[in-house]
Amino acid sequence: MGALQSLPGHPEYVDLAEKTGFSYQQIGVLHKRFKRLSHNEETLLREHFSKIPDLECNPIRSQITEAFFDRRNFRQNGEGTVEEIGFEEFLVVMSHFRPPSLHMTEEQRESVRRNKLRFLFNMHDTDNDGTITLEEYRHVVEELLSLSGTLEKDTAKSIADAAMLEVASISMGHMEPDEFYEGITFEHFLRLLNGFEIESRMNVRFLNMDATTLCK
């Protein structure tokens, strides 16, 4: 907590810390990074993201960028997308990747899981209708394979189909031949990734960051 003295005049950190659960030190580091990315402006735009050099080699960069501008991730039950985000929204999106603390009750752990899985779900469900349809899932797989060179559309399709089949069989069990499986709802998604231990996997270390590297 000694970091508080080294950050003069940042009373808003207290609010942010409460809202997102980060420590003052972490918020300070992230703020420095935010200012660097946005070239010292108040808000971040999509172009700022596209200028990050390492992100270009990432096959799902567009989805990551979109996730930052997606209102559903701002924990305010909003919908749709925005054009620019401030530091608070940046921090809220980042807070999805905070590791769970050691002493948590079962309900807290469960809610952390739900939050993280909700984030993933929002990334897949691009048209915001509450379900991941086959088309959207196919798009996910295609994006994953997009940088590998050999873009075999049919293999991507069959992988997505097989995956969808698996979800359907796990969630629905028995279906009549003329029934149609609309898409993966959030509940099905939860059940699907039940054994995935997402609360221990979807984490980034925030403390040891060197904000002076990269982003020119």
Binding site: I52, I60, V140, D154, M175, P177, I198, F206, M209, A211
Partner: protein, 746 residues
Amino acid sequence: MAELRPVRRSSTGPPLTGLICVFLLVFVSVASASRDVGNNETRRNAAGEAPEDSHHQTNSTAHKKAFPVLSLNYDHVRKPFEIALWILLALLMKLGFHIIPRVSNVVPESCLLIGVGLLVGGIIKAIREEAPVLDTKLFFLYLLPPIILDAGYFLPIRAFTENMGTILVFAVVGTLWNAFFIGGMIYGVCQIEGTQLASVDLLSCLLFGTIVSAVDPVAVLAVFEEIHINELLYILVFGESLLNDAVTVVLYHLFEEFSHAGTVTVADAFLGVICFFVVSLGGILVGAIYGLLGAFTSRFTSHTRVIEPLFVFLYSYMAYLSAEVFHLSGIMSLIACGVTMRPYVEANVSHKSYTTIKYFMKMWSSVSETLIFIFLGVSTVAGPHAWNWTFVIVTVVLCLVSRVLGVIGLTYIINKFRIVKLTKKDQFIMAYGGLRGAIAFSLGFLLTDNEMKSMFLTAIITVIFFTVIVQGMTIRPLVELLAVKRKKDSKGSINEEIHTQFLDHLLTGIEDVCGHYGHHHWKDKLSRFNKTYVKRWLIAGERSTEPQLISFYNKMEMKQAIMLVESGSAAKLPTLMSSVSMQNIQPRESARGRAIPSISKSREQEIRKILRGNLQNTRQRLRSYSRHDLFIDPFEDNVSEVRFRKQRVEMERRMSHYLTVPANRQETPLVRKVCFEPEHRVYTYDDSERPSPPDAVNLLSESPPRPNQSGKLGAKVPDQDQEEQDQLKLSRCLSDPGPNKEEDLS
């Protein structure tokens, strides 16, 4: 073993038979041991008589011996015979234990094997014969490598690299702590008067501490394998037992040298530290070089599939031996070789070779493990012992205490750096799972002979027995009592694979946004480097550019196709009992009555011929017999055919929506049964009532009633027309014609 089969049905039969087995085998093993000595004597006599014989022969050439119809010459095959006999007995013991069900649930196998070894050793000693001892060379050169190779090759890489920091801290710092703590405290105890131990000096104590402090991979594997603990704990304890070899090697040689020299200087300690880095990094480097060589070799083996598994084994063994030449850590070299080689070899070798590699490794490591434990028991009885109550009891207590303290202390420090903290339960299992085993024994055997050696050996053996027997037996009920997380049964879900990859990329991206060069960033860089440069050199053909998701998917398909073939005409497919199939997922096309253009009859014939021809081609390859050739595997062709057919059936399902089907929607649409015909028959569409397995060509099995219905429907519709129409539609609707699909899997 013929007697066992009918006996198994009765309830009292198996235990009794098992006991008979055990006694029989013990008897035979003793007999073989005594026979050795007997033969030694006869050989000595024969050697003495030989000069006489030659005299006799030169003198009495007229005295002709009768032609020997049946003669006994045991010496000729003595050594291989005994080795084979011992191995056979060891495995029969193992077999015997699993027939007695109740015992094997309570007592871990390692304990039983030690017990048998003790029994055999005791009997051999009772007849005052010479028992075979666990020779150090035998252990380190022949028995240990298969186990380590098996462990290294199948090491779960992801879990290992994620916890690498923790594992290294435990392996290096933990072992150092154990060695110095035990050595120091023992020295302190020895200085107390009245224990007759004053002759033990500090260096010998430290040497002893080193030997007894290392967690043993063989024992850990043997026990942990049976309790199915969760992956994190398994990899922590097991990884530690593998990586502490470097520390043990360095410390051992260090103290061994010093105890001859007598004094230690600061320069020596500094050299020791450097030696540690040389030993561990050098071992890894040697292993990596051999691993890359092995991967490179496997790139060219597409024409000689039969010898592929041998390359894996030989390169790994060479890595081990090369490391041992320079006194580097052989274990780390072996692990590095297996880990480096595996992804490339698996991409290059055929499926059969992959299975062979897997099974041979498991087989050899199983035999080694069994032999090690039996020999441990035998050597216990045979070896020179000097029992000293104080020394032994203090050693055992100190081992436990130092392990517990070490784990608790290190976890406190490590938890500050870990994302997923280690709970108290985890710490307990880690402390309790620190078993000592045969490596400690062999290292003790290597000590130079002095009056303390027998005392040390006795203490080491007691510690080993205590950890393996007491801790090994009680860990299973403790795990259940503490409700420690067990290994979850992962069924290779493609969704999890997709999300694993997705998450990897997501976390890398977030790290990039944060500006944080973290774990994921470097992993991503490494895998990109791997893809662009390394894979191109080490993987044959187009597989080198295949992304991981696709190879995972192909593997899964292959596995399911194999399951299909093996269950063949069996009635049930052991998959999810769900009736969901592709048509439930595919979005409904709005236009139902799509106009299907007609094709002329001759064109139909052509198309049909082409389709049939593609299928037949794969079957009619020339098969010339050669002892060095595996039969050109009909199976691997058929797998691609099965896939092909599966896709066809899916198409059919979809197409059946567009067929002019009778209006009542309750009836299931016309289902074409696809049969897995034996090879000599040409593939045909068969509409008759076949049992459900052909339907199981789908990813999931259909609910049973359907085939019967379709069978009835099928009878109504004239076969010929439908068949033509179907093939017609199929030929148009198949996006990938047959040949490409088959190449996909080669």
